[in-house]
C-alpha cells in the first residue's frame, strides 16, 4: 500500500466510523468503533513500518498540491511512534469500554452509549491529524477537534460536578487555542507561510517570532495542563467515566505537547532563546512537585491518579531547557509514550476496582486486590513505571533526562526528577496499600477480557523500558541530532 493512501486512511477511517454510526445507531456503534480502531492500529503499524524501512521522514502533499499552496502531511520517527502508541492505547480502551457504553438486547438505547463512541472517534481522528499534520493552521483545526470531542467526554454522566469540570476545561482549552491562533496569525504575517518545513528555513530571531512562539506555547501549555495552568485537569479527568479518563489522561494532553515539540524543535530550533526554555523547565519542575504533593493529599483514587498526571506532565517540559542535549527529546517522547500506557492502565484498573468496591474512596478499596488479582497486579506494574523503577518505561525516561541535565550542566533539574520519583513512590504506595490489605468483597462478575486489557497496557509500559533500543532508534528518524544514545 502506498504511503499516501496510508496517510489518507489514518485521517479518514475514524470519520468514516462516525458517518456509519449515525444511521446505524447506538446498538451498532460499539461494533463499528472496534472495527475502526483495529484498522486504525493496522494503518498506524504500516506507517511506522514504512518510516522504519525508509529511515527517513515521509511526506505526502495532499491532492498533489505542494506547500505553500497545498497542505503537506508528514511522518517522521516522532509522529510514527506517537501514532502507533495512540492507536494501541485507543484499541485497548475500545476493548475495555463496552461494559459502560453498550446497549443490551431489548434495552432502551441511551444517549451516553451512543455519544461516547462518536466522541471517541473524534479524539482518534484529531490525534492522527496532530501527529501527521505539517501546517500550523491545519494543526489548529485538529487541536480544536480534539477539544470538542474531549470536553463532552468529561460530562458524559451529566452530574452537576462533571458539568462544572467540563465547562472549566472548555474555557481553558478555548483560551489556549485562541492564544495559539494569535501566534499563528503573527507567524503568517511575518513569514507568509504556515508550513513547518518552509517556516524552519525562513524564521529569524526577531520580535515577531518570539511573540508568536510565546503566544502559541502559552496556549498549548494551557491545553496540556502544565502547572500553573493545570487547575482544570484534576476535576475533569477524575469525574469522567474510567474509559474516558484513560483517553483524556493518556492521549489528549499529549496532542498539545506534541505540537509544542514541533514548534520548538522543528520550526525554530537554533534561534529560540535558551532562557525561555528555562522558564518552561521551571514550570515543569513546579508541576512535578505540586502535582506530587497534591496527589499525596487525595482521598479518592481517581483524583490521586489525575494529580499524578499533572506531575508526570511536568517531566515532559523538562526537555525544553535541555534542548541542546541529544537525549532530552528522546527522553521527553519516551515519557509521553510510557506515561500514556501506564496512565491508561491505571485509570482503567481504577475503574474496575471502583466497580467492585462501589466507590473510588481509598478506604473503600480495602482488599480489592484479593478478588481482582490481575487488575491489582496491572495497577502495581503501572505504578512502578510511573515511579521510575528499573526496568520500566518510567525509568528509561528519568535516566535519559538525568543524563541530559548532567551533560548540560544544569544539575538543578535532577533535584526535581528525584523529588518527583520520591513523591510518586509515596502517593502510589498510598493508592496500593488499601488494595492489597485485608478486606471483604464479593467475587465480581468482571469479564476476563477487561482485566487482561488493563494488564497488557501495564506490560507495554514495562516493555518500553526493558527494550528501549528499538523505540529510541525509531524516535531518532528525522531528528538526526537526537540520534545516538550511548550504551
Amino acid at each position: 500500500m502506498s504511503i499516501s493512501l496510508l496517510f489518507i486512511l489514518a485521517l479518514t477511517l475514524p470519520v468514516l466510523g462516525i458517518v456509519l454510526m449515525v444511521p446505524a445507531g447506538g446498538r451498532w456503534a460499539r461494533e463499528i468503533a472496534r472495527g475502526v480502531l483495529l484498522l486504525n492500529l493496522i494503518v498506524a503499524a504500516k506507517i511506522t513500518a514504512a518510516v522504519w524501512q525508509a529511515k527517513a521522514t515521509l511526506t505526502y502533499a495532499s491532492g498533489g498540491w505542494l506547500p505553500p499552496l497545498g497542505i503537506q502531511l508528514r511522518a517522521d520517527g516522532l509522529s510514527a511512534a506517537m501514532l502507533l502508541l495512540t492507536a494501541f492505547v485507543a484499541l485497548a480502551v475500545g476493548l475495555y469500554a463496552p461494559k459502560d457504553f453498550f446497549v443490551q438486547r431489548g434495552e432502551q438505547e441511551t444517549r451516553k452509549s451512543f455519544t461516547f463512541w462518536i466522541l471517541f472517534m473524534g479524539v482518534c481522528v484529531g490525534m492522527n491529524v496532530i501527529f501527521l499534520g505539517n501546517d500550523f493552521f491545519n494543526l489548529y483545526v485538529a487541536l480544536e477537534l480534539v477539544t470538542f470531542a474531549a470536553v463532552p467526554l468529561v460530562c458524559l454522566s451529566g452530574r452537576q460536578s462533571t458539568l462544572e469540570a467540563a465547562f472549566r476545561y472548555l474555557l481553558f482549552a478555548l483560551t489556549g487555542s485562541a492564544f495559539y491562533l494569535l501566534g499563528v496569525a503573527l507567524l503568517y504575517g511575518a513569514y507568509g507561510t504556515l508550513d513547518i518545513g518552509k517556516l524552519s528555513g525562513v524564521v529569524r530571531p526577531e520580535p515577531a517570532l518570539w511573540g508568536a512562539v510565546a503566544f502559541m506555547t502559552v496556549g498549548l501549555a494551557a491545553k496540556t495542563a502544565l502547572f500553573p495552568l493545570h487547575l482544570w485537569l484534576p476535576p475533569a479527568h477524575a469525574g469522567a467515566p474510567p474509559a474516558a479518563s484513560a483517553l483524556l489522561s493518556a492521549l489528549v494532553v499529549k496532542g498539545s505537547f506534541f505540537l509544542t515539540v514541533r514548534l520548538w524543535f522543528d520550526t525554530a530550533p537554533e534561534i529560540l532563546n535558551p532562557r525561555a526554555g528555562q522558564v518552561l523547565g521551571l514550570m515543569g519542575a513546579g508541576a512535578i512537585v505540586v502535582g506530587g504533593v497534591m496527589a499525596l493529599r487525595q482521598e479518592r483514587l481517581k483524583l490521586l491518579i489525575a494529580y499524578s498526571t499533572v506531575a508526570q506532565i511536568g517531566y515532559l517540559f523538562l526537555i525544553f531547557p535541555l534542548a541542546e542535549e541529544s537525549t532530552a527529546l528522546s527522553g521527553g517522547m519516551f515519557q509521553a509514550m510510557s506515561h500514556a500506557c501506564a496512565k491508561a492502565a491505571m485509570f482503567l484498573a481504577a475503574g474496575l476496582m471502583a466497580e467492585v468496591a462501589g466507590s473510588d474512596l481509598l478506604v473503600d478499596l480495602r482488599g480489592v486486590g484479593r478478588v481482582l488479582p490481575l487488575t491489582a497486579s496491572a495497577f502495581i506494574l503501572a505504578a512502578v513505571s510511573l515511579v521510575g523503577v528499573p526496568p520500566t518505561g518510567g525509568f528509561a525516561t528519568k535516566w535519559l533526562l538525568l543524563w541530559a541535565s548532567f551533560s548540560a550542566q544544569q544539575w538543578w533539574w535532577t533535584v526535581a526528577i528525584f523529588a518527583g520519583g520520591l513523591l510518586a513512590g509515596g502517593y502510589m504506595f498510598r493508592a496500593a496499600a488499601p488494595v492489597f490489605s485485608q478486606g471483604t468483597h464479593v467475587v465480581p462478575g468482571i469479564s476476563r477480557l477487561r482485566e487482561w486489557v488493563v494488564l497488557i497496557l501495564a506490560l507495554a509500559a514495562l516493555l518500553l523500558g526493558t527494550f528501549p533500543q528499538r523505540p529510541l532508534e525509531l524516535l531518532a528518524i528525522g531528528h538526526p541530532e537526537s540520534a545516538e544514545v550511548q550504551q
Partner: protein, 97 residues
C-alpha cells in the same frame, strides 16, 4: 490604516482576555471569548490587507483562514452555551430538591 486596525485588534484581544479572567458567570465568559476571537480575526484581516499586491486588494490566504476560524469559534460558542444551559438547569434542580 492597517496600523489603526492592528491596534484595535490588540485592544479587543486584551479586553476579551480581561473579561475571560474576571467575569464569574458562564455567559459573560463565553462572550469575552468571542471578543478575544474577534480581535484575532481582525488581526488576520490586517495581515491580509498588508499582503496586498497590485492585482489583489488583499492576500486571500488569511481570509480563508479567518472563515475556518469563525466556524470553529462558532462551534466552540455553541458547545459553551449548551454546557452553560445544562449547568443552569442542574442548578435549578438542586434548588428545588
Amino acid at each position: 490604516m492597517t496600523t489603526i486596525f492592528g491596534i484595535c485588534a490588540a485592544i479587543l484581544v486584551g479586553l476579551g482576555l480581561y473579561g475571560l479572567i474576571i467575569h464569574p458567570t458562564p455567559l459573560r465568559k463565553i462572550l469575552s471569548f468571542n471578543i478575544l476571537g474577534s480581535g484575532i480575526f481582525l488581526l488576520f484581516g490586517v495581515i491580509a490587507r498588508r499582503g496586498s499586491v497590485d492585482v489583489l486588494a488583499a492576500d486571500p490566504v488569511p481570509q480563508a483562514l479567518v472563515i475556518t476560524g469563525i466556524v470553529v469559534a462558532f462551534s466552540a460558542t455553541a458547545l459553551g452555551v449548551a454546557l452553560a444551559l445544562r449547568l443552569n438547569t442542574a442548578d435549578q434542580d438542586q434548588e428545588n430538591s
